[in-house]
């Protein structure tokens, strides 16, 4: 009999780091094939529609950037927190509170010059996200409460606040739909390309990612942040204020997620709706992990997932497969990726199993 065994490696193989993403994608396609077949489509055709087709026309290509915009924010937010060893699972809630703050700001800035109005939108979005991140961060730093639980549990709370507002005080007075008043025109993020929905939020996201990359990779603060994530004890001994830095990382992470909310309100829907986020905060965790917690990785992963989202939409009406298929692919992708990251520390060997009963 042939047995399969896992053996620990002293250090992860170097080639593996480069190969992780392609391998993950290939394995995911094999694993999700069954779902595609069940939906009544041919797998190859479906993957062609999912991945390749969005990139073949100008319109869908730019739609990929639109879909990637919130993921760039949330991916960066999650990656920064994870790097510091702060497991922020609450980007979704932080995004929603940022969206609430921005939607409110959008109704009160009509007299401001356009630049200031837009800055106020983004700023209040950031503030909203940071406020939502503050409670779990303080509880983690001063009381030792696990932030995975607290940040996660605050996500539905934020969503309830959104629906509560939209069905109560903020219900649209004209349409009576559960959606807020339209933000004033000077607060809208301008489109940056003609006849496409790509808006200022995309540029802001890239700017934040460049800044985050610079801080993480090139500055003393970034090195300290990585140090507290890798070994809080060693960092504390070296005189780094671990608690303070952790708090800062959590707040910055929340703020960036909050800007994502502002960007969706000001660049896409121009009002608050209860569908303002289609799980962007959660997908941000996928993006950050897929991107290896590095900023260039986050960009690539966000674009790839944006591609999937657009592809899933067109697959819906072209092949008649449900667009939820994209969520399945996304979920499987994350699981495969995590499995591969564990595998990285092992080697797989095939060998003949030893006979039983003899020792």
């Amino acid at each position: 009999m042939i047995g399969v065994r896992l053996e620990a490696r002293a250090a992860p193989a170097r080639w593996f780091n480069l190969a992780v993403a392609p391998i993950a994608i290939a394995v995911t396609f094999v694993l999700t094939m069954g779902f595609v077949l069940a939906a009544g489509a041919s797998p190859l055709e479906a993957y062609d529609t999912f991945i390749v087709e969005p990139l073949t026309s100008r319109y869908t290509g730019l739609e990929v950037l639109v879909a990637a915009t919130p993921l760039l924010f949330t991916g960066a937010a999650v990656a920064i927190a994870f790097r510091a060893g702060y497991w922020n699972i609450g980007a979704e809630g932080q995004l929603l509170v940022g969206a609430i703050a921005a939607a409110w700001a959008g109704t009160v800035v009509e007299d401001l010059p356009r630049v200031l109005a837009i800055a106020t939108m983004a700023g209040l979005g950031a503030l909203g996200g940071a406020v939502w991140a503050l409670g779990p961060a303080l509880m983690r730093v001063y009381l030792g409460v696990d932030e995975v639980v607290t940040t996660l549990l605050l996500n539905p709370v934020a969503l309830l606040i959104v629906t509560g507002l939209l069905n109560g005080p903020w219900r649209n007075p004209e349409t009576h739909f559960p959606e807020s008043e339209r933000i004033s025109a000077n607060a809208e993020f301008p489109q940056i390309l003609s006849d496409s929905r790509v808006h200022l939020g995309f540029v802001i996201a890239l700017a934040i990612i460049v800044a985050a990359w610079f801080v993480l990779a090139r500055t003393a603060t970034g090195l300290r942040l990585r140090a507290i994530g890798l070994s809080p004890e060693g960092a504390r001994f070296a005189g780094i204020g671990v608690e303070r830095l952790l708090l800062q990382a959590a707040l910055v992470s929340g703020a960036i997620a909050g800007v994502a909310g502002a960007s969706e309100v000001a660049g896409i829907s121009y009002q608050l709706t209860d569908g303002i986020s289609s799980g962007f905060g959660y997908t941000g965790i996928v993006v950050a992990t897929l991107g290896g917690l590095t900023m260039p990785g986050v960009v690539i992963a966000a674009l790839f997932l944006g591609d999937l989202v657009v592809g899933a939409d067109s697959a819906g009406f072209e092949l008649g497969v449900p667009s939820q298929l994209a969520d399945i692919v996304k979920g499987v992708l994350l699981l495969v990726l995590i499995a591969l990251l564990v595998f990285r520390h092992y080697r797989v060997s095939l060998r003949r199993a030893q006979g039983r009963g003899r020792s």
């Binding site: 065994r5 053996e7 620990a8 002293a10 610079f214 090139r218 500055t219 003393a220 970034g222 090195l223 300290r224 990585r226 140090a227 890798l230 070994s231 004890e233 060693g234 960092a235 504390r236 001994f237 070296a238 005189g239 780094i240 204020g241 060997s349 060998r351 020792s359």
Partner: protein, 506 residues
């Protein structure tokens, strides 16, 4: 001991070779361990003793070589294979589940079938206690046991799995003298029972006391195997080190200056209401080494933690060069001029960062160019310290890859290059080989010459007597004796450390 011929040796290693990058940890090592012998592996740190035994136990894969157990070649890919081949290993870091009982730990991983036979395990533990003198209460929680008792549980675990070859990696490093005696007694009984024991050590007198034969490793290669009865200490030492050793000793000088570290009425609470430190007061002068003697667990860890800013005292005052640093953070303590070399070297570094980054971690702001971290300066700084402190590593190597001695040099380099006024140093040579120990001692004496005040906490009396100008003895959190080193002798210190001369000294 079995003579060769009829019975094959318990373990035969042939041509074991293992490289880590450019470093050859084991270079074609041949080793034969007979049944019923204690075979010592003697060598400096980094000589490849632990790597060789990790290979035998399946924790590390060799690049080349064969393993033969009881005359049969076996493939050992994991500890599971090793256990199946009758090999047990007690590593320096125990693999025990602390909230579980001794019996639970012993059967953990050795449970056949569905039912857990706890009573069976408890009986076997009691049996082993009877037969080998390895005493342990099967129903005690491991978390409540001393380090020595935990080590016994590790040995029991190996015996429970019917090991015929028992590897002990520097088992005495964590033990107090009485526990060492008990361990040796147990090992002798195991040996007489026919178990082959591999005993890793770099302490000659221990090797002489316990082993039947000794194999000396140097730089990954076997430089000789001797019957212990036929070998003399000088020969073994020179085999091990490759050159004659010179003991470092402080120069007599009464030129201690003004007080640079003053500790007054320091108390530290601890769990269970017992105070870890009770009203401790002392002063260290410039150009003086104050030694703190004591059996571990008598407040040394807490004393060092408080002085390093890692723990807040319940009462008392700490002054560094006239500045009150009571309850300061680590950064403030460093800023006040304290250099800290802690007991646990691994906890003092961020092991996934590089050597260069770790060397600069305490004062990163000194390496800034505008907003950026100046990588070239970081590197130059690292290269300078690497050559000055002869650290065997490159600036870009992860700290994780360094051996114990090199890691200690890294910590020393980080601290001493900043010329601190006060140096708080704890167990600086624990687990280090002769050459690295000498190096550390030389550096500490150089700091004393420079005019630093050094607080040296150590369990090694020889180290304290060789280096310290004055000694205090900690017992149950209190200072029970103080004397100039010239008036100290091991007997008197031993009595104080054992708490026997308490009334007389206080």
């Amino acid at each position: 001991m079995t003579a060769g011929g009829a019975t094959p040796p318990a373990v035969q290693l042939c041509g074991i070779t293992k490289r880590f990058g450019a470093v050859v940890a084991n270079d074609g090592v041949d080793l034969v361990v007979e049944r019923g012998e204690v075979h010592a592996l003697l060598g400096e740190n980094g000589a490849g003793k632990t790597t060789l035994m990790r290979i035998l136990y399946g924790l590390t894969r060799p690049d080349a070589g064969r393993i033969v157990i009881d005359g049969r070649p076996v493939a050992i890919h994991s500890p599971k294979d090793a256990i199946a081949a009758g090999i047990g290993m007690v590593t320096q870091h125990f693999a025990l589940v602390k909230p579980m009982t001794v019996a639970e730990n012993v059967i953990l991983g050795a449970t056949g079938g569905v039912r857990v036979k706890l009573d069976d395990a408890a009986r076997k533990v009691a049996e082993a206690a009877e037969r080998f003198g390895i005493r342990a209460d099967p129903y005690a929680r491991v978390a409540d046991l001393s380090v020595g008792e935990q080590q016994r549980v590790e040995i029991l675990k190996a015996l429970y799995r019917n090991c015929r070859v028992l590897i002990l990696d520097e088992p005495t490093a964590v033990l107090v003298p009485q526990e060492v005696e008990a361990l040796f007694a147990a090992l002798r009984r195991l040996r007489d029972d026919g178990i082959a024991i591999v005993f890793i050590s770099h302490k000659l007198y221990e090797v002489r006391e316990i082993s039947t034969r000794v194999t000396v490793l140097r730089r990954g290669a076997v430089v000789g195997t001797r019957r212990i009865a036929d070998a003399d200490d000088r020969e073994l030492a020179s085999l091990m080190v490759g050159r004659p050793t010179l003991a470092v000793r402080r120069t007599e000088s009464g030129s201690a200056g003004e007080v640079v570290l003053r500790v007054d009425g320091l108390s530290v609470g601890s769990r269970g209401g017992l105070e870890a430190l009770r009203n401790v007061s002392f002063a260290v002068r410039r150009g003086e080494i104050l030694g703190v003697a004591g059996v571990s667990g008598n407040g040394q860890t807490e004393l060092v933690d408080v002085l390093c800013g890692m723990l807040r005292p319940a009462a008392g005052r700490i002054e560094v060069d006239g500045v009150d640093v009571t309850g300061s953070s680590p950064a403030e303590v460093v800023a006040a001029g304290v250099g800290r070399i802690p007991e646990d070297r691994h906890a003092a570094v961020v092991s996934d960062l590089t050597v260069a980054q770790n060397l600069a971690l305490e004062h990163l702001d000194g390496f800034r160019r505008a907003l950026q971290l100046d990588d070239r300066r970081l590197r130059r700084h690292a290269e300078e310290l690497i050559s000055r402190f002869t650290i065997k590593a490159g600036p870009d190597d992860a700290a994780r890859t360094l051996s114990g001695g090199n890691l200690q040099k890294l910590v020393l380099a980080r601290v001493l290059s900043r010329e601190p006024k006060v140096i708080v140093v704890s167990q600086p040579t624990r687990g280090l080989d002769v050459a690295a120990t000498e190096y550390v001692h030389g550096e500490l004496l150089a700091q004393r010459e420079r005019g630093a005040g050094v607080l040296l906490v150590s369990e090694d009396l020889d180290e304290l007597l060789a280096l310290a100008d004055r000694l205090v003895v900690l017992y149950e959190g209190r200072i029970v004796g103080e004397m100039p080193a010239a008036e100290a002798d091991p007997e008197r210190l031993g009595l104080l450390m054992a708490g026997l001369a308490e009334g007389m000294a206080a």
